[in-house]
Amino acid sequence: MRWLATSVAIAVGLITLLDYFFDVPILDALGVAFRQWTIILTAFALLLGVINLLQVHLRRIIRRDEASAGYSLIVVVTATLVASAGLWFGLPSEPMTWVFENLYVPLQGAFFALVAFFLATAAYRALRARNLETTWMLIAALVVLLGQTPLLGVLTDAREWVLNVPSTAGVRGILIGVALGTLATALRLLIGMDRPYSE
């Protein structure tokens, strides 16, 4: 069966790649179909994911794990309620929209607001001048930070230079490397030399 999984993966990958390069009706139709199948497969994977989630949390509840059984109970009850509402009322529907707009989105916003505080502690740790590398980072961060303030307008040009020259050059270098890494990984998967899906 190993050859079958590998053949299917290579064939689907090649057809999708050819569809990207060439405008041929049959390739277009197959490409669209494969992309739709991806959504269906993701939905099935989500079902497996929910089973996995329930396995982990139900096990904690059954074991009456003192530290986390209460939280696990909340997770299981909430997941059951929201899933039931979704199945009953469908999507999009008023109850589901209410859940997202009044529970999920505010919680998400509040949580990501914490990034600023985490950033402050992380920056403090990273910008202590321990060696030449962190000293350069500290200087660059100070120039960019102080260059934003109107009081130190003299640093505005320096800030622009730091952002436009060394920073942009570094990011472009990283992006070229990432593109090549992505290409190499994709190629290994595409020609079946790397098979995380089979032995």
């Binding site: 993701t42 989500l46 994911g49 996995n52 986390s68 950033l119 190499a184 990984t185 790397d194 995380p196």
Partner: protein, 270 residues
């Protein structure tokens, strides 16, 4: 140049043509490198501290009887960041092999449902290859919380995953936190939770906007494309070594091209 571009635009598209060109250039270099590696050619890999640290993690894990946590990122299989997830799978395979023989098996968390069956399959396969299929526990790979729109968009909203992972990183007994894959701003929330606890942290991502967070919080950071080199550094498989060699050759060509273009432009020749 313009007539060529307009011809390409009217046939397969200029963007597609450029991509096809890079692919056709990469393929022979890759196969040549593969042939050379298979024939026994050896080349020196520059040391990457993060991969050296990964190799030492399980000695400490076995000694302390505490597991290593591995986060596979927030994206899955089948979206535009599949290569990042595949890079995380390479690290998973290595850590799973080491974890299977230690007293504290690896704990894997992820945010995208499509990564779950692959992660579980890798764990199951490793335990079977080690001759201990009965020790495989499918809940050692955990989907903590998916994005509600995960089937519709590649851009993942990992808020719920980050919350769950932060709790795990602050409450669970762990010897180290490894984070490899595609992350957004949630990387900082998770890695800072680990850093404040003083965990050994190894990880990185390909997203340039997240790299300052990686550098600030990781004990052993992996910068950008270094995450794709995991297979070559950890397992030393010929395919991974040859693709790394091909990447380096192509990178050298691109650097030469950029420098040449700058020189010619400065001299007013183009």
């Amino acid at each position: 140049m313009d007539p060529i571009l307009s011809l390409l635009d009217s046939t397969i598209g200029a963007r597609q043509a450029r991509m096809l060109g890079v692919l056709l250039l990469f393929l022979p270099i890759f196969f040549f490198a593969y042939w050379a590696v298979k024939r026994g050619a050896r080349f020196v890999l520059r040391p990457i501290a993060a991969y050296a640290a990964l190799k030492g993690l399980f000695a400490r894990s076995a000694e302390a009887g505490q597991p290593v946590h591995l986060s596979l990122g927030t994206t899955g299989v089948g979206d535009q960041f599949t290569a990042d997830t595949a890079a995380a799978f390479n690290v998973l395979e290595y850590l799973a092999e080491r974890g299977a023989i230690s007293a504290a098996p690896l704990l894997v968390t992820l945010a995208h449902p499509t990564a779950l069956p692959v992660a579980q399959d890798i764990l199951r396969r490793v335990y079977r290859q080690m001759g201990m299929p009965e020790d495989y526990d499918p809940t050692r790979a955990r989907l903590l919380a998916p994005d509600p729109n995960c089937a519709a968009t590649a851009h993942q909203d990992a808020f719920a995953y980050a919350v769950s992972a932060m709790r795990l990183l602050t409450q669970q007994k762990l010897v180290a936190n490894v984070m490899v894959g595609r992350f957004g701003a949630e990387f900082l929330l998770m890695s800072e939770a680990g850093a404040q606890r003083g965990l050994t942290q190894v990880g990185g991502t390909s997203a340039p906007e997240v790299l300052p967070f990686v550098n600030a919080t990781m004990t052993h950071p992996l910068i950008g494309e270094e995450i794709y080199a995991g297979g070559a550094y950890l397992s030393g498989k010929p395919t991974h070594l040859s693709s790394l060699l091909a990447q380096d050759i192509l990178r050298g060509l691109i650097v030469a091209l950029v420098l040449g273009a700058v020189l010619f432009r400065t001299l007013g020749l183009i």
